[in-house]
């Protein structure tokens, strides 16, 4: 049979990772815009403090976005992300303690609790054959309720050492954790479960016919998501230096925004959690840009919405154009 010309490797990579590329481009545009507006307003470029606070404030969303992305890739959605963050935030504020040992144990315990929350979601979705949106809407309320129960009023304290590790005020050391996240994800992607997560997101029945362990893959996806949400809760508590059982609520929606800004299809099967990480930073950049652009605060959310629509529209149009090119 004739052997048609194959595409150049880089074109293929760009095409197959359109969402990732676009979100990265979006982030670069946002950063450039931010720097320009910042320079216009302040007469200097943003420096270490700006980078550090931006990173520290974005870290919880980075992990919440990655948590959401994994479930979205399976074709589901996880509304309980915010609830898991609430719960883990509350637990960490209470039990981190002051000794290195208690901090390590508490961190492990909190991540385990996140995993257990994800396990509950996963079992209900996979074995109960319930729609993810319904299951996680219900568990969101359950986790929020548990969080209030654990920590009825905001409080508790985070040892300074813990904050210094997860949300160091001096330098954006927490970027290291993004690298850890990337490495962990790269490894997960290279397991049968990783393949399964994408396969069930593409086509559940086809995945089954291909010998994929659907149930196991789905449950694992939710467990991973719960664990990542727990990590988000840890970053949140570290950055705040104290606990609040309700500050996680907003992360359900914001994590979905990060996923969308990352160019990940909500239909599942495509994209990578890495682009949700980028989407998280884009979302913080939007806040920064609007701040220094001196937009009337009353219209801030209006403009945030406009930014979001424009970003999503751009992503959609460009990836459609790329697809057209790919077919041609």
């Amino acid at each position: 049979m004739p052997q048609p010309k194959r595409k150049a490797a880089w074109i293929r990579l760009v095409e197959q990772n359109a969402g990732l590329v676009l979100s990265a481009v979006l982030l670069v545009i946002a950063i450039v815009l931010y720097c320009a507006i910042y320079y216009a307003a302040q007469g200097r470029l943003p420096g270490g403090f700006e980078l550090t606070t931006t990173v520290n404030n974005t870290m919880p969303l980075v992990f919440a976005g990655a948590a959401q992305a994994i479930v979205v890739i399976t074709g589901g959605i996880d509304l309980s992300v915010g609830g898991v963050i609430d719960l883990t935030n509350a637990l960490a504020a209470l039990y981190l303690g002051d000794s290195p040992l208690s901090m390590v144990l508490c961190t492990i315990g909190v991540i385990a609790v996140g995993g257990a929350c994800g396990l509950l979601n996963g079992l209900l979705v996979a074995y109960g054959r319930l729609q993810p949106i319904l299951v996680t809407l219900a568990t969101l309320a359950i986790f929020q309720g548990l969080a209030i129960r654990v920590l009825p009023a905001p409080g508790g304290s985070v040892p300074e050492a813990y904050t210094a590790i997860l949300a160091n005020f001096e330098a954006p050391y927490s970027l290291v954790f993004i690298v850890v996240l990337l490495v962990v994800w790269a490894l997960v992607r290279r397991t049968s479960i990783g393949v399964g997560i994408y396969a069930i997101g593409n086509d559940d029945l086809a995945a089954k016919s291909s010998g994929v362990k659907n149930l196991r893959s789905r449950v694992t996806a939710y467990v991973l998501s719960g664990m990542l949400a727990a990590v988000a809760g840890l970053f949140l508590v570290a950055n705040a230096t104290s606990g609040d059982p309700t500050t996680g609520n907003g992360y359900t929606l914001r994590s979905i925004v990060a996923v969308v800004l990352g160019g990940i299809s909500l239909f599942g099967g495509r994209g990578t959690p890495i682009s949700a990480v980028i989407g998280a930073f884009v979302s913080t950049m939007i806040v920064n840009i609007l701040f220094f652009a001196q937009i009337d605060p009353l219209y801030q959310s209006f403009f945030e919405g406009v930014f979001l629509v424009v970003a999503v529209l751009l992503t959609a149009i460009i990836s459609r154009l790329m697809r057209r090119r790919a077919v041609a």
Binding site: A9, W10, L13, N17, L20, A24, V25, L27, V28, I31, V32, C35, Q42, L45, P46, G47, G48, F49, E50, L51, T52, T53, T54, N56, N57, T58, P60, A93, A153, P154, G155, G156, T163, F169, A171, I178, L182, L236, A238, N239, A240, T241, S242, G243, D244, T246, T247, G250, R254, T272, I274, I278, T284, V287, N288, F291, F292, P297, Q300, S301
Partner: protein, 373 residues
């Protein structure tokens, strides 16, 4: 197949795009400055309001008063002000405060989305010598100043007013607010602490009004037929609604202590309202706390007032002090919260109605009296 190797580089590269672009930003990092103590006397002060959200009338009025104050002397010439909202999103408010720190403001006034969630960034602000004043929804961060009203005392004052008016004997009702909130808990506890001292006062009904006059009116109307004669009303929630339900049921209005709706105060005027008059005590949390915070920040930064938390007295109005056009407004709707201004000769601050509604300046100079330090 060598491009498979490229794929790895590519993924790392794409993921690192943020960092790469962030490379514009220069290291190393500035060290935190020591907290500033010297008064600033030689220049305008940069004071910013970080409001967690503007989704209700109270917050809207609060911001309007702040805007209005900035356009009035002495703030007009002494302060360069700005204000931000964060949609009740803690990390967004945190990021905005970070941006305020970048801007190098002198003071940040905070109505917080979480009492603890901003502690990290506010701590950094303090470290950089920025004065932090939190009010309304205050923060637990220890280095900042707090302005507040004593909610427990609210409950006490209301109950004592009623007890005195009925000579420590009779049936009262308690209309509470949104259950589970700090303010509601404290006010109710304050009320109960007074009732405990009067064995002859009987709380014959206790129900929620959800801090909403419509709800209060509905609930009161529903429960009234089951109640005996009522001698006093303690209402931490939509007091005008309670009174309207009494009027509609054809009951006389007993002495009433409660919140600060314009409708309630209309009943307290000498002409009365809906053909009825009430002997009342009216006050609530005041939206002008933002302006008190502004003045506190200004005074502390100028070195004319000591650093310290401030507890505000309840801005109470009784039938003796009620004054049309000053603390009650017959041509405004009943729902107007009259606490946009204080009144009387010791008023904390006095505003005109346009300031509350539109954020426009009032005539003359704005005088803010901080409690004696």
């Amino acid at each position: 197949m060598s491009f498979l190797l490229d794929r790895r580089k590519f993924l790392l590269g794409a993921a690192g795009a943020g960092l790469a672009a962030g490379g514009l930003i220069s290291f190393p990092f500035g060290l935190a400055q020591a907290a500033e103590t010297k008064p600033i006397t030689d220049r305008k002060l940069k004071i910013a309001l970080s409001n967690s959200f503007i989704g209700n009338k109270w917050r809207l009025t609060m911001e309007n008063l702040f805007k209005s104050a900035l356009q009035m002397e002495p703030y007009k010439s002494e302060v360069e002000g700005s204000w931000f909202n964060s949609g009740n999103d803690v990390s967004k408010q945190s990021q905005q405060i970070a941006n305020l720190i970048s801007q190098g403001v002198d003071a940040i006034l905070v109505d917080a989305a979480s009492p603890t969630g901003l502690n990290g960034i506010l701590h950094q602000a303090s470290q950089r010598g920025i004065l932090v004043v939190s009010f309304d929804n205050t923060v637990t961060e220890p280095t900042g100043l707090k302005i507040g009203m004593d909610e427990f005392n609210f409950g006490v004052l209301w109950a004592e007013f009623v007890a005195k008016k009925i000579n420590g004997k009779g049936n009262v009702i308690m209309v509470t607010g949104v259950a589970g909130t700090y303010d509601d808990d404290e006010r109710n506890k304050g009320g109960d602490s007074v009732w405990a001292k009067y064995p002859d006062i009987k709380v014959v009904a206790r129900y929620t009004g959800m801090w909403d006059s419509a709800v209060t009116q509905t609930n009161t109307a529903a429960i009234l037929p089951t109640l005996p004669k009522i001698d006093g009303i303690w209402s931490g929630s939509g007091t005008d609604g309670v009174l309207k339900a009494f009027v509609e049921a054809g009951r006389p209005l007993p002495p009433t202590a409660g919140t600060g709706e314009n409708g309630f105060r209309k009943f307290m005027t000498k002409d009365g309202y809906m053909g009825q008059k009430v002997d009342g005590l009216s006050f609530d949390d005041a939206p002008f706390e933002s302006v008190i915070a502004l003045e506190l920040a200004r005074a502390v930064l100028r070195g004319t007032y000591p650093r310290g938390n401030v507890v505000l007295p309840a801005p109470a109005v009784t039938n003796d002090t009620i004054e049309v056009g000053v603390n009650v407004f017959p041509d405004q709707p009943d729902s107007l919260n009259c606490l946009f201004t204080d009144s009387g000769k010791n008023a904390l601050v006095q505003f005109c109605i346009d300031a509350a509604l539109n954020g426009t300046p009032c005539e003359g100079k704005l005088e803010v009296r901080l409690p004696k330090a």
